[in-house]
């Protein structure tokens, strides 16, 4: 679709403002913009499987050096503001990053105990790297106060996400730091890593060599957390589903041969299953893909109460003798998510190779040591999140009700009957700071129904809520079958007599009820009431997957153009007077 082909003569309430976005700007934000290259190939999948023993077994620098990726990686620039050596962490970041298709360029300035913050150059993330024992004469209370003040200065100077790694700090001081909710600033606690590493955490012997009291082992452990969990959690969309194979992955054995009571739940497999249960509790979808009969799978879970995982933990189960890639496509359809938001675990390297040739899907090899598999699984970039929203807990229940909702639609005599039966309720809030983390998550992970693809940072969203000419309107959805939680955002800024939409996105879980226009119109009415204007501009950006949103916008604005491909401006009065579904209850 070309902007020049849009005929606007018959639609006087519409006008174009700027030329169409002709390039895809999604790459910056895509989980891995590597589709079609060697990362998603059988060779790439098998190489990453081989690396798992090195990366998630006993750490060894000599072996890490061998993990050099033949595939191109997405580059992220990390600026280090620190007072002790970061080089031993930086050198280990490469291998862990490459496993996830990431490459870290580290900008490290001179050691600075005063944290006077030199922010030359462009970076994607700020890392504060402090050995607080160097700050002599300060108790931990004073250190916390000083650090908060320095972080606020850093926050004011950049919209980049900030990760603050300060050690050694007692747990109480860490909790105090975490209580100060500065937008986009995270305080990972290194105390659990220190406990796990034991006496080898510090090594004063190597201070002269590396500039830090942290040992080489400690630095490798920190590198793993940074590369696989902390940096991706601050810079990448989340992984929403973990898909697992059954035989020799969740336990030792094959149910077709060993039968339900013959397969072994080793302590390591128990830990792996418990980890998956934990992910489920945090709102990550679990899905099962297995070459077994469904009846055998049901029998297995019924016969093994010792399994931490229950069949009910899985949002979908695909039991078939088809290629695994076919089953995985069915999982993506059932969960309504893209492959970039999924990861798959299987013990069969051949299956991983087949999948990698067919799908742009991140794979983890379930090796002989299930504890290593567990560590690898929890190191998939995007799986760890800094916090889980209320919606994370609702998601699995919500998706489970979609079949019942479809059944209501099939039996309803009319759309009015359907809506009456569902008892749909929409909730709206304006500039609710409590929900900003969820809003940030939504604008970053929503692909299909996302008109602008601006992907504002949490800091930018927070600034909008404080700006008298901007508003962030959130939309919540509930019906008698489930509470979907916060599923939509319309954020806008007034520029003279025009309201410019910064973000307009709806979660895919909210689609399918044909309420998109009603949801957005109510939000626009709120915005027009708070920020009176004559016109509303929708800055449309073309992404690889936002066709549904652009198609909706074209229809919504009464354009006969298939999909919106350029910025569109409409009369505000015409928009707010659009009809809405009256059978939907709305609360403000």
């Amino acid at each position: 679709m070309n902007a020049n082909r849009i005929k606007l003569e018959d639609t006087p309430h519409i006008g174009t403002k700027t030329p169409a976005a002709t390039h895809c700007d999604e790459q910056k934000h895509a989980k891995l913009a590597l589709t079609g290259c060697e990362f998603f190939s059988s060779a790439g999948a098998l190489t990453r499987a081989e690396w798992q023993r090195v990366l998630f077994g006993r750490p060894n620098r000599a072996h890490l050096l061998e993990c050099t990726p033949p595939w191109p990686c997405r580059s992220l620039c990390v600026r280090v503001n620190g007072n002790h050596g970061f080089a031993p962490v930086a050198s280990a970041l490469a291998a862990y990053g490459a496993w996830n298709g990431l490459e870290f360029n580290v900008l490290a300035g001179p050691y600075d105990d005063t944290m006077s913050l030199h922010l030359e150059g462009k970076a994607d993330l700020e890392l504060v790297w402090l050995d607080v024992s160097r700050l002599t004469g300060l108790d931990s209370e004073s250190i916390v106060a000083w650090l908060i003040e320095r972080l606020q200065v850093l926050r004011a100077a950049t919209i980049n996400p900030i990760i603050c790694l300060a050690f050694p700090l007692p747990s109480a001081a860490m909790e105090e730091l975490q209580r100060h909710e500065i937008p986009g600033v995270q305080f990972p606690d290194m105390n659990p890593l220190a406990t796990e590493t034991g006496p080898a955490w510090l090594d004063s012997r190597t201070l002269v060599l590396s500039g830090t009291r942290l040992s080489s082992v400690a630095c490798m452990r920190i590198a793993r957390e940074l590369a696989c969990r902390w940096i991706p959690a601050s810079t990448m969309p989340p992984v929403k589903a973990m898909v697992v194979d059954l035989d020799n992955t969740l336990f030792s054995g094959v149910i077709a041969e060993d039968e339900s009571h013959g397969v072994r739940l080793t302590p390591a497999h128990r830990a792996l299953q418990s980890s998956l249960v934990s992910l489920h509790e945090q709102g990550v979808y679990l899905a099962l893909v297995s070459r077994n009969e469904m009846a055998d799978i049901e029998t297995l879970f019924a016969a093994r109460p010792d399994f931490p995982l229950r069949l009910s933990h899985f949002a979908t189960v695909q039991a078939s003798w088809d290629d695994k890639s076919i089953a995985l496509r069915k999982v993506a359809d059932a969960l309504r998510i893209d492959f970039s938001a999924m990861a798959y675990v299987d013990d069969n390297a051949g299956e991983l190779a087949e999948i990698a040739e067919q799908l742009p899907l991140f794979t983890v090899h379930a090796g002989a040591d299930a504890l290593q598999t567990c560590a690898a699984l929890n190191s998939v970039a995007g799986l760890f999140r800094w916090r889980r929203s209320r919606e994370d807990g609702l998601r699995a229940i919500d998706i489970g009700t979609s079949a019942r909702r479809a059944s209501v639609a099939a039996t309803a005599r009319s759309r009015a009957d359907y809506l009456r039966d569902l008892q749909v309720r929409l909730g709206y809030a304006v500039n609710d700071k409590q929900t900003l983390p969820r809003v940030h998550e939504l604008v970053h992970k929503t692909n299909q129904f996302n008109v602008t693809l601006r992907r504002l940072s949490e800091v930018e969203l927070a600034r909008m809520t404080a700006d008298e000419n901007s508003r962030v309107v959130t939309i919540s959805l509930e019906d008698r079958l489930s509470d979907s939680g916060l599923i939509g955002v319309v954020a806008a800024t007034r520029d003279a007599d025009t309201l410019i939409i910064a973000e307009l996105c709806l979660s895919c879980r909210a689609l399918g009820r044909h309420l998109e226009s009603t949801m957005v119109t109510h939000a626009l009415r709120i915005l027009a009431g708070e920020l009176p204007v004559s016109r509303v501009t929708f800055p449309v950006r073309i992404g690889p997957r936002n066709g549904p949103a652009r198609k909706w916008l074209a229809t919504y604005l009464g354009l006969n153009i298939g999909e919106a491909c350029s910025d569109l401006t409409a009369e505000a009065r015409w928009l707010v007077e659009r009809p809405v579904d009256e059978l939907v209850t709305v609360r403000f």
Partner: protein, 82 residues
């Protein structure tokens, strides 16, 4: 320690140097001061890699003495012997 395993050890040291310094060829007869790639950061990386590879812990005085493949091999040999 047999001669064969000593040779294997020396070869492994060479491999690690090549990999850490990201150079094309082994540096058999050269010392650190003659190899521009062998800066302080690479030296740190090499020391840690050697410790992990051979299961030894160098002392602070030895950090500065690890300046050529031959010296490295000698120091590691002493550690393994003791």
């Amino acid at each position: 320690m047999s001669i064969a395993s000593e040779r294997e050890r020396e070869q492994r040291i060479q491999e690690l140097i090549v990999r850490v310094l990201r150079i094309d060829a082994p540096v058999v007869a050269l010392v650190r001061s003659e190899i521009p790639e062998w800066d302080s950061l690479k030296h740190m990386e090499l020391v840690f890699a050697l410790e992990d590879e051979f299961g030894v812990r160098f002392d602070e005085a030895e950090f500065a003495a690890l300046v050529s493949p031959g010296e490295i091999a000698n120091i590691i040999k002493e550690h393994l012997a003791s």
